[in-house]
């Protein structure tokens, strides 16, 4: 399928800092799943924050449906792209349902408030991430993993075409990682959702993702199907660790460190 979201030659430099991302390009097809992998500090989060419209690239362009990202009216863009940061903490004890409901905001007309239908959507989203039981709790009282499930539900309530996730599985246990991946796979089937996800969880990437983007020192050093990217030599280079090994087992790729 033809890609609807394209990034070309993205570069970003933090004030008085080094070049965090250099000439990164990627394309996203409808109903596809892309993983961004790479060592800590390789520019993954900076890249995804540019894709989310939070950072403006120093050079390069991001096109959504062929139109530059910054040309999109912000609320219209918010109906297309959702973003979930690495971690979220609120200063005020907002009830979980209100946090999820805020994801409906781009769909609510100006000076209107969320309707009962929006509330139902928010509850559905909470159910799909397995966090419906948290609806009435205060957000500040939740654990890091629970907060991730709630923020993911909020991103789903936004009903985007493209979901950008910055290490969603970092603070999740095994069961919730499985829940997360199942929820994403289902939305991809049902609604044609596309996902770009930063992850260190290479076991997850092997079977579920169509495409892997590998970053090293701010540059995209390789991208392609998991079977092409998840090779021992390539991974060793990306992570600067000579003992990384990988092997295809059926549709899965196993990655481990040789002692």
């Amino acid at each position: 399928m033809t890609p609807f979201f394209k990034a070309r030659g993205l570069t970003y430099q933090y004030p008085r800092g080094p070049l965090a991302v250099r000439g990164a390009s990627l394309e996203v097809a409808p109903a596809s799943m892309t993983a961004i992998i790479g060592a800590n500090g390789s520019g993954k989060s900076t890249l995804i924050r540019m894709l989310a419209g939070l950072l403006r690239p120093a050079s390069g362009e991001i096109l959504l449906d062929g139109i530059a990202l910054e040309k999109w009216p912000p609320r219209k863009r918010a109906r297309e792209i959702a973003y979930m940061p690495q971690s979220t903490m609120t200063a005020f004890p907002f009830p979980v349902i209100d946090v999820v409901l805020s994801g409906r905001s781009p769909h609510v007309a100006r000076f209107h408030m969320e309707s009962m239908r929006d509330r139902d959507r928010a509850m559905e989203a909470l159910e799909s991430t397995g966090a419906a039981h948290l609806a009435a709790r205060g957000f500040t009282a939740l654990s890091a993993g629970e907060r991730q499930m709630v923020i993911l539900a909020r991103a789903l309530a936004q009903e985007p075409r493209l979901l950008l996730l910055d290490e969603p599985s970092a603070s999740l246990d095994l069961k919730h990682r499985a829940d997360l991946m199942r929820a994403l796979a289902r939305l991809r089937e049902q609604r044609g959702l596309s996902v770009i996800m930063i992850t260190h969880d290479l076991q997850l990437t092997g079977s579920l993702f169509d495409r892997i983007v590998a970053m090293r020192c701010g540059e995209v050093t390789a991208q392609g199907a998991p079977s092409e990217v998840l090779r021992s030599q390539l991974l060793s280079e990306i992570y600067d660790e000579p003992n990384v090994r990988s092997e295809r087992v059926g549709s899965q790729t196993l990655v481990w460190i040789e002692a």
């Binding site: 939070l54 200063a91 005020f92 209100d98 805020s102 905001s105 100006r110 000076f111 509330r119 909020r154």
Partner: protein, 332 residues
């Protein structure tokens, strides 16, 4: 669970009743009790009521509403429960601006607005940007640094005000002192009307940002990805809050902690949604300052207390309680 419009309507109904009750209380209580019947027969009572009592109570409503609304907006903008016009140094900056104007004897008006107002607005504005600039490192505003910067701006402002008071003639010094303490004394309805005309558009501007401020109060980054123009929203809130605080400081002096206590009371009663907290703070703030002023006028048999003393005595403990509660679940 009830939908937001239903909750908002309920909150406004309850708070409007409270406002009405506090209005009646404010009009009745005082050194000189005014019997409603005597308003028709007694010209002295009528003068007292329309020239002094009513303007003062209305002034209390306007200033209480303004400071509370600004407090609620600043708390959301900075995602900091301890933010208010006083703790962020906005009132200090405004007071310094007003003091300079008084000391230099600026009595002129620009477009019908006294220069003291303009100076207070400029001082408040400067304080907001200074505090924000000091507390920001890169892109994050550190909550602890924000309050410390506010404290420092307040201290420097009050030191400068003290210095000014020593230099200027005693008359101006006394006028400055009245400003600092904060008083709602006003003669006639005309100044109240002028304030009303200036403040209402500013209130509307803040209330209209309810959705944006709600999303920003939850999280700044995701507010952007939910379609909020965060930097534009910040600028509008800074300017409008400085404008409101400048006017209230120029008219009523520095009345502390109202903007801190009232939004929290509204949250406890009606929940965290800013689209309820903002209008709720407006109504409850008006009621709160009217009652505080009624207390200030009646608590001592011999004399009146400044209303700023009452709000300070009530607000200090609330601030400490919030600080303690906050430390239990997050880092400052």
């Amino acid at each position: 669970m009830k939908t937001l419009p239903a909750r908002l309507a309920g909150a406004i109904a309850i708070l409007s009743l409270m406002l009405l009750a506090s209005l009646v209380l404010g009009l009745v209580v005082g050194r000189q009790r005014i019997d409603p019947g005597s308003l028709l027969s007694d010209p002295f009572a009528r003068t007292l009521f329309f020239r002094l009592r009513l303007p003062r109570v209305l002034m209390g409503l306007l200033i209480g509403a303004s400071l509370s609304l600004v407090g609620a907006a600043l708390q959301a903008l900075f995602r900091n429960p301890l933010a208010d016009p006083f703790t962020l140094g906005v009132q200090g900056g405004g007071t310094l601006g007003a003091s300079i104007a008084i000391a230099l004897g600026w009595s002129a008006r620009v477009l019908g607005i006294p220069l003291v107002f303009v100076a207070a607005f400029a001082g408040a504005m400067l304080a907001v940007f200074l505090v924000k600039a000091i507390a920001s490192t890169g892109m994050v505003v550190l909550p602890g640094a924000l309050l410390l910067a506010g404290v420092v701006v307040n201290l420097v402002s009050s030191a400068a005000v003290v210095a000014i008071q020593y230099v200027v003639d005693p008359n101006a010094a006394l006028r400055i002192l009245r400003w600092i303490v904060g008083s709602l004394d006003v003669v006639g309805l005309e100044p109240v009307g002028r304030m009303f005309v200036l403040l209402v558009p500013a209130w509307i501007a803040l209330l209209a940002l309810g959705r944006q401020l709600h999303l920003m109060a939850i999280d700044e980054d995701t507010a952007t990805t939910l379609g909020v123009n965060v930097s534009r929203c910040e600028t509008v809130v800074h300017v409008v809050c400085s404008f409101i605080v400048g006017i209230t400081v120029a008219m009523g002096g520095s009345i502390g902690f109202v903007g801190l206590i009232v939004p929290h009371a509204v949250r406890l009663m009606f929940g965290e949604d800013l689209r309820i907290v903002l209008p709720g703070s407006l109504l409850l703030g008006a009621a709160f300052l009217a009652v505080a002023d009624a207390l200030a006028r009646s608590v001592l048999p011999s004399t009146e207390l400044p209303v700023g003393a009452i709000t300070g005595l009530l607000g200090g403990p609330v601030f400490l309680w919030l600080l303690r509660r906050r430390q239990q679940y997050s880092t400052m």
